[in-house]
Symmetry: C2
Subunit: 160 residues, 2 copies
Amino acid sequence: MELAITPIGEIHTPFTEIKGMPIQPAGARGIRGTVHVYEDYVQGLEDLDGFSHILLLYYFHRVHDYRLTVTPFLDEEQHGVFATRAPKRPNPIGLSVVRLRAVDGDRLHLENVDMLDGSPLLDIKPYVPDFDQYTHVRTGWLEKSRDNVEHKQSDERFSE
Amino acid sequence: MELAITPIGEIHTPFTEIKGMPIQPAGARGIRGTVHVYEDYVQGLEDLDGFSHILLLYYFHRVHDYRLTVTPFLDEEQHGVFATRAPKRPNPIGLSVVRLRAVDGDRLHLENVDMLDGSPLLDIKPYVPDFDQYTHVRTGWLEKSRDNVEHKQSDERFSE
């Protein structure tokens, strides 16, 4: 069974190459980008400007194929792809929480962007701590790597 | 442009009807469910059991069509659909953070499930507070409704 999804817009960032990008919004603090929402969907942005942070779902458009085990940027060992945030996934859908600076017609002005320029946007959801924050969390193999996320950059391992 | 996505598994929960469901995992504390991951993707689960919480992306398979403005379960006023978590979205992709109790072969045993039984699973990502938690967050129209999320249940407004 295949399901069809249709981009609702396009994400613009300073990152035009996969190599050297921040690997999460936590490593992209202060980096600005924009979303262009296609005309057919602009009405759906009403009241979004009340939210300081939004969740973006987008398509990893430059990633082809996938792997079930990967060596993520934050480790030297292999892990199942679903235990990582690596882009080479069976459904290459990315998820980032970004800061929403302003809404201006069909443009969203963002901060903390970690996406590749031109990424097709699939969905926008408000970020709500009551829904999205949990305490007493264990993070498996990432426990030993967590200090690296702000400084680590991507290399070419998921480039093709 | 249409993009194709393929379910990697199926979510099983006690909720077989849209009416009367919890509207977020925060309202589904303690409710158990399972994920059946299809055989082709089971290898990708390696090391997932180190994580206490996971993000599930899934398809709102019982939702047809979409609206650009909706009256969400938590309010009596209309808002742009992208300023809500309502299921009738241009790309009907749901996002929930659930507690991972155990991984047993091709089954994930979950707690705090708020999905409809039979929802096609699109992706599993580890929940990582360093990536996914933000402070100093404004939540727009939801500020006045936040106390309701644990008690509010769905009705039929998004049923067809």
